[in-house]
């Protein structure tokens, strides 16, 4: 598979992939600066995996994109879940997590949820429309 050709043929799919990966890359660099390596290891693994998937069959490539989309959806749902948990149990003490549920974090969660669903829908389209 030619990477540029693939991207050119289904711009919206790869735009969504790009935005979601860029967001997590940015977050992991923030963490790297303060000494936490787990986020960067995770995202680096995903970048390598997705890059590699361009070199194999389209089916495998789409499977890996599907895996990424599901992770992104889970990520958004987990954040909503924790928010709900804090809403229901007002005695939970983790103030610094509780304070992360302002408007902007919710917008980010919704955006990521949409991106995850968007990627899934794009790769379900008939092959001819995408690649």
């Amino acid at each position: 598979m030619n990477i540029l050709k693939s991207i050119y043929k289904s711009k919206s799919l790869y735009a969504m992939l790009g935005i979601s990966m860029a967001y997590f890359l940015f977050k992991s660099f923030q963490y790297l600066i303060i000494g936490s390596y787990v986020p960067i290891l995770f995202i680096a693994f995903m970048v390598i995996l997705i890059y590699w998937s361009f070199t194999v069959t389209r089916t495998t490539h789409y499977r890996i994109l599907k895996f990424w989309a599901i992770l992104v959806i889970f990520w958004a749902i987990a954040r909503f879940g924790v928010w709900l948990m804090f809403k229901i149990d007002v005695t939970l003490t983790e103030s610094h997590i509780r304070e992360q549920f302002g408007i902007v974090p919710h917008v980010v969660s919704i955006l990521m949820l949409c991106i995850g669903i968007g990627i899934l829908r794009q790769i379900k389209k008939p092959a001819g429309n995408n690649v």
Partner: protein, 297 residues
């Protein structure tokens, strides 16, 4: 001059200038605990009802900076960001963000050595935190006020008020890291937490995980002042962060293990009215005498 005339003259001077006579240390400490726990309004009209949210902690930091400045020392703020305790949480949420407030009382004789005294200023949500830990702050303030008057100081003293103790000792971790990174020569670290409850009125304190060196000094000083000192192995407060990085650290608290401890800690009932101010005064005296011994060595 006739002796009975002196107080009259004294009060006349203050009447004439319109100034209030200076508060005694214990009254200053009462005022600090009252203001930190929302019992009294601040001079700017605001109230610190709790010290948990971002805004409340920022307001508290401003208050503490002014408090330090009132002693003539320079308040400093250490802002930090630290990862979550569980790295998986890092994938979902933002890191811890906060700031410690501290000051340095320089030695009078040239020295590169430092002793650290610290107390956390944050509380759990919706808790006034009068005993936990406005008392620790008031004792730290009393200590520095008294140390300023010591003429011969052979060691520098750092007084630090930690942020986010209630959330995995984050503030003290950040401060311990800073001291280590900047290669401060730290002789000892003493953290004070929850020192305002003494139902049996024996003035006793518990010393958490001291080295023999610190234990000896505290016990000797306690004997001299009539304050029983019990040692325990409790490590769930700020001194733990320093011990983790190899510092000679200990914690001071009320009789947590012995059973004479603040019962309303981390609740909305941890109010000004429950504070035993005689105990705050005797703890201040103890910490001061220990500090004096350490800085005169």
């Amino acid at each position: 001059m006739h002796k009975s005339l002196i107080p009259i003259l004294f009060s006349l001077i203050f009447l004439n200038t319109g100034e209030e006579p200076p508060l005694k240390l214990i009254d200053e400490q009462k005022k600090i605990i009252a203001e930190l726990s929302g019992h009294s309004k601040l001079e700017n009209g605001k109230t610190i009802s709790s010290r948990s949210t971002k805004e409340e902690r920022q307001l508290t930091r401003e208050y503490l900076s002014n408090l330090i400045a009132s002693t003539g020392l320079k308040p400093q703020v250490q802002e930090y960001k630290l990862p979550n305790v569980n790295p998986l949480v890092d994938l979902l949420f933002e890191p811890f963000a906060g700031a410690n407030v501290y000051t340095i009382l320089p030695s009078t004789n040239q020295s590169d050595d430092y002793i650290v005294f610290g107390a956390h200023f944050d509380t759990e949500r919706n808790c006034p935190g009068a005993i936990d830990n406005a008392t620790g702050i008031a004792i730290g303030y009393g200590l520095i006020e008294k140390l300023i008057d010591v003429k011969e100081r052979n060691v520098n003293v750092i007084l630090v008020f930690f942020d986010q103790e209630e959330e995995d000792l984050i503030g003290s971790q950040a401060f311990a890291k800073k001291l280590k990174k900047e290669k401060f020569k730290i002789l000892s670290v003493h953290t004070m937490d929850t020192m305002g409850w003494d139902r049996d009125e024996d003035s006793a304190i518990e010393l958490e995980l001291p080295t023999n060196y610190l234990k000896d000094i505290y016990i000797k000083t306690g004997k001299r002042l009539g304050i029983p000192i019990y040692t325990t192995k409790v490590n769930s407060t700020d001194h733990h962060s320093f011990r983790e990085l190899g510092f000679n650290a200990t914690g001071l608290t009320d009789e947590l293990v012995n059973g004479d401890y603040a019962p309303y800690k981390d609740t909305a009932k941890d109010t000004y009215e429950t504070v035993n101010f005689n105990y705050v005064a005797s703890c201040t005296e103890l910490v001061y005498e220990v500090a004096k011994t350490l800085i005169e060595q």
